[in-house]
Amino acid sequence: MTAATIDTARPGQVAEAPRRPFNWSAIGNGAVLTLVVIWCFLPFYWMVVLAFRNNANTYDTTPFFSHVTLSNFRYAFDTSINKFGRSLINSLIIGAVVTIVAMVVGVFAGYALARLAFRGKGIVLAAILGASMFPGVAILTPIFQLFTNLGWLGTYQGLILPQISFSLPLAVYTLTSFFADMPWELEQAARVDGATPGQAFRLVIFPLAAPALFTTAILVFLASWNEFLLSSVLSVGKASVAPSTVAIAYFTAGPHIVPYTQTMAAGLVVTVPLVIVVLLFQRRIVSGLTAGGVKG
């Protein structure tokens, strides 16, 4: 059976390539690709549909937009019931500080690991990778204990500091692999052509490195924005500092209401900016995501 298919397939592909007989495998590929796209978008699509649907029609299975309303969004931002708007600001504050700290500290380590030869480099890399693979709960308990004593539970610093544990390793190893791939010969070439080190950095290296820095910053910010375990425990129910993931998880609508459509509206507000950013920079993000492990 398989032998027969080879014999018929082989001449068709090698000898008669230009004529292109009816290509079943292309159809099959197309079908699978379509399946992949549907797989990825279908649940998300349902979230969008429900976010714009009247709450009374929650269990309506019409597969396209029906009973369209914006009330779910108004409801999500109604501060008397949920502190959802506030949580978006909290997420922005936490994400921004975490990203800035991780980038500012991580860029130096990434440069050193990618460009300099030094003793113990393997150990440093192993330590940083090890730190990134840590189960969050392993540091959660002691940090909870420590912050209880310090009175840091439910504060911004109490939410920001623990996030360094995963964002800094992420920044360092992404930057390391980006830097390792950069054409550093250009820096030398610029200096041979008479550029000062400052000029070589400003005019040659920085423009080359900027996209890498930017991509890494996006990845770190996303990781912070999506974090739930540490934030949900360390915010101890304080809506004034809790990020949006926590607000979404505890989203309520008062008694006797199933707040599905409102939750989907809130979820959409959290998600859409991310999806836009990710789609705009998809090429870079994919290279950033795959830079770490796959090279070897």
Partner: protein, 338 residues
């Protein structure tokens, strides 16, 4: 060297560095010192937010929690050294007794949930990673062949990855509702989130949905490094599609695959967000991470013991997998880093 001053110094450093690169063991003192200053802030910060809590957690896991003292029968606010008692509580369900010995803990204590939660965590790990790898591999193979629509597919793949898990979990609550779209489409009346096996598979389905595309992306990056010439010459030599897959694709994609599988395994072993929100850990979906968070309200030192056990288990599994796949993750990083 026509460039003067610091520029010349740096140029010399460069000139010195270039020929030294193949021999990586050679240390340039200047570079070593510079590297130390550059790496030190990262190491210090990580020691502060990861190293210190771990050490402190291990220390306090040997302390008793405030609570009823079985010896006196009074509430005691002080903590003292209790050796392995907290570990015995989790691993053997032994509680201290008034006589100073050990008794079997009363049923209903969190300690009795340790083994079931470990089992369900391992179940999630094996099932989701298997599904994600097999389906992700299929996706990647097809995407690797496709030229039309590759951009669209790659964009689509990032959508489930980019949605925060908290939002994903809420989305699946809606889909899995007894009156929700899934039961309507399937024509079933399954209580997805409130009976044991459906709840477990609800977690598996939601996790596989979110992460399979991401695995596909990692595998695809590995596939794209394989030269098309190899396939061409294998085909000329008469290798079947299956032979080309097992003899060329699998061995060459193995490093990328191993890294993807190891990272995913570690991720699922510490899974918290999805079951915590989707099922609240009810109906046999309490993962080890959820158990730690539950314990936070009833004794932090005991929780530290559980954290430490979790950490050791995950570390051991990670180490075992690295050995099994013979994967050189750090080496891959170092090579990436030249």
């Amino acid at each position: 060297m026509t460039v003067a001053g610091p520029a010349a110094e740096r140029a010399e450093e460069q000139a010195e560095k270039k020929p030294a690169e193949p021999k990586r063991n050679k240390i340039q003192t200047g570079e070593g010192r510079l590297a130390f200053y550059l790496v030190a802030p990262t190491i210090v910060l990580l020691a502060l937010v990861v190293g210190y809590p771990i050490v402190r957690g291990i220390y306090s896991s040997f302390q008793s929690d405030p609570g009823l003292d079985p010896a006196t029968g009074f509430f005691s606010n002080s903590t003292h050294w209790v050796g392995l008692q907290n570990y015995k509580y989790w691993l053997l369900q032994q509680c201290p007794s008034a006589g100073g010995g050990h008794v079997k803990c009363p049923t209903g204590t969190l300690g009795s949930q340790f083994w079931p939660s470990l089992e369900v965590t391992l179940f999630f790990t094996i099932v989701t990673v298997t599904f994600e790898t097999v389906i992700g591999m299929a996706f990647a193979l097809v995407m690797n062949k496709a030229f039309k629509g590759r951009g669209l597919v790659r964009a689509a793949i990032l959508v489930p990855w980019a949605i925060p898990t908290a939002v994903t979990s809420k989305l699946w609550i809606v889909i899995f509702d007894p009156q929700g779209i899934l039961n309507k489409v399937l024509g079933t009346h399954i209580l997805w989130t409130s009976s044991q096996w459906p709840a477990r598979f609800a977690v598996v389905i939601a996790d596989v949905w979110k992460t399979t595309p991401f695995i596909a992306l990692l595998i695809l990056a590995g596939l794209q490094n394989i030269s098309a010439d190899l396939y061409e010459s294998a085909r000329v030599d008469g290798a079947s599609a299956w032979q080309r897959f097992t003899r060329i694709t699998l061995p060459l994609v193995k490093p990328a695959l191993a890294v993807a599988v190891i990272f995913r395994t570690l991720d699922v072993l510490r899974m918290y967000d999805l079951p915590a929100i989707l099922t609240g850990g009810a109906n046999g979906t309490t993962t080890v991470s959820i158990l730690v968070v539950k314990q936070l309200n009833s004794g932090l030192n005991s929780a530290s013991a559980l954290s430490t056990v979790t950490f050791i288990i995950i570390f051991a599994i990670a180490l075992g997998m690295v050995r099994l796949f013979n994967a050189n993750i750090v080496g891959a990083q170092a090579k990436g880093a030249k």
